[in-house]
Chain length 306, copies 2
């Protein structure tokens, strides 16, 4: 097997970038001091995350392609959660010189696959030697003339709705931790989230007043909207989608599990939400999040990750 | 001393971002799913680098403020090297939970200081726990209507010119490695480069045909222009600025030392270069880089870092 150390920095960059498809929004791709990306709106949405092996992913639990897809997805979802369309990804890749080059190939294939799913391209990045595999992913996006959907716009009287899977990734992680290998749908959801990227721009068109992607857990993330907007959010647990595959701990996972990158937003009560969105609660005066009228802790739902 | 682990992720983010000044180009700063940065040109210049402790910086050789300034500078210089004005920085910060919070404060103060020097703001980022301090820095910039200055536009007959210090950082690193603490100017240059950011947009106004910032060493970086442009670059060693402070190894450091982030570009022979730019050679048909007519290796100048 060839290692990335044998290729050297420039050889590895050439190998990894040669296969990256570049969409029309990439005006200048990898290979120069910086990339140039179209930003037709006149503003650019930008977010960055660090993922560290052992903490954010495990190579014995996930293959390189899934790790690449997941790393891309969590950043692309952050861009979509502003109501924007993702345009480009920049990827910093730190790894020990002895890392198998084929593993790096898989990682970048996954990054490119997820970009394609979101309409974006891997347009640049950096590779360095380090004792531990670390990914630094920056995603950019375009607002297409709309106002950014922040966490701060929820108003009393709004409805709360979600689009996308909740609790699947957490349930899959719990299974892997317990040494189990099924249900396959849950394991796969832990390895690779499937954020419904179109939900971001769609939420804006539907008149959303606040939006985010669920990365830390529904209750915790709704708490961010409540805090930023100065409102209370009331969740009806019976309205939260809990597919049977989630099993007996389904509601817990759906309320507290992160990493599925569903979208949760608030909308005027008059908004005509299509069936892809599920109404799960309402916005009221006050502070914090309630589940069926009680504080999540009192109801047995910890604010933090399950 | 307080550690960053004691503060938790959200407490640390709040502490670090509270002091970050936000310029008018930041339409939405830290605290939401993503930042929103003005991109009036309709395109955005973007670049990212990873810096790993032990490889890219040493805490026993540099304080946190200098490490922050240097990490910001190398990315802001990449943006300027496209002929763009830096607008914003996103910073991923990975560190052991036992890291002193005051060290993190210093790091972010340095990042903010360097942004201010370049006209940009730290507009977002991420903090995670990791065994080793790692910085992921993404810089964005605006082209203000101009064409990006790539490495690929040099033409036979052009002149080669540089603006900024050459060899200072490498000389400083050599001194530190040898256990010496002066000349102070060189040690300081290793700890904190001072890229002349205005040189990027200025080079474009002067009609530059290619531009980059010198990060790997003048000869190696000119080699990138030669390769991308399909030309030969002839350097006259007697024309390369070698201040006396560089000492007897001065020319070697100036030709092969990186990390000062001077700007090196090619210009039409008719360009009226102001005194801040020094003409050091010319572009000819052919390939590669020559120093006084000889290959750098033959002349004793290794292509790679001194």
């Amino acid at each position: 097997m060839a290692t990335i150390g044998e290729m050297g920095e420039f050889g590895l960059i050439e190998r990894l970038t040669a296969r990256l498809p570049q969409g029309p929004q990439v005006r200048l791709g990898p290979g120069d001091d910086a990339a140039v990306i179209a930003a037709p709106d006149g503003r650019v949405v930008a977010t960055t995350d660090l993922l560290v092996e052992g903490r954010h992913f495990r190579r014995d639990w996930s293959g390189p392609r899934d790790i690449g897809r997941k790393a891309a997805a969590q950043n692309l979802a952050d861009v979509a959660a502003m109501g924007a369309r993702p345009t480009a990804l920049l990827v910093g890749f730190a790894a020990p010189p002895g890392t198998d080059a084929a593993w790096a190939d898989g990682l970048y294939a996954g990054l490119a696959d997820e970009c394609a799913a979101a309409g974006a391209s891997v347009a640049g990045g950096d590779v360095v030697a380090a004792p531990q595999i670390t990914l630094a992913v920056t995603a950019l996006g375009d607002l297409a003339g709309g106002a950014p959907l922040t966490r701060a716009g929820a108003r009393p009287g709004d409805v709360v709705a979600v689009r996308g899977r909740l609790g699947f990734a957490a349930a899959g992680l719990e299974l892997l931790t317990a040494g189990r290998d099924g249900p396959a749908e849950l394991i796969a959801a832990h390895r690779r989230p499937e954020p419904p990227y179109a939900a971001g721009p769609q939420a804006r068109e539907l008149g959303a007043t606040a939006l985010l992607d669920v990365s830390d857990g529904l209750l915790q993330d709704l708490g961010h909207i409540a805090a930023a907007s100065g409102v209370r959010i009331d969740v009806e647990s019976a309205a939260v989608p809990v597919p049977a595959v989630l099993g007996p701990g389904g509601l817990r996972h759906a309320l507290t599990g992160g990493e599925d990158h569903a979208f949760a937003g608030t909308f005027p009560a008059s908004a005509a939400l299509p069936p892809s969105w599920t109404r799960i609660g309402a916005v009221a005066r006050g502070t914090g999040v309630r589940v069926d009228g009680r504080l999540p802790e009192a109801a047995g739902w910890d604010h933090f990750r399950s």
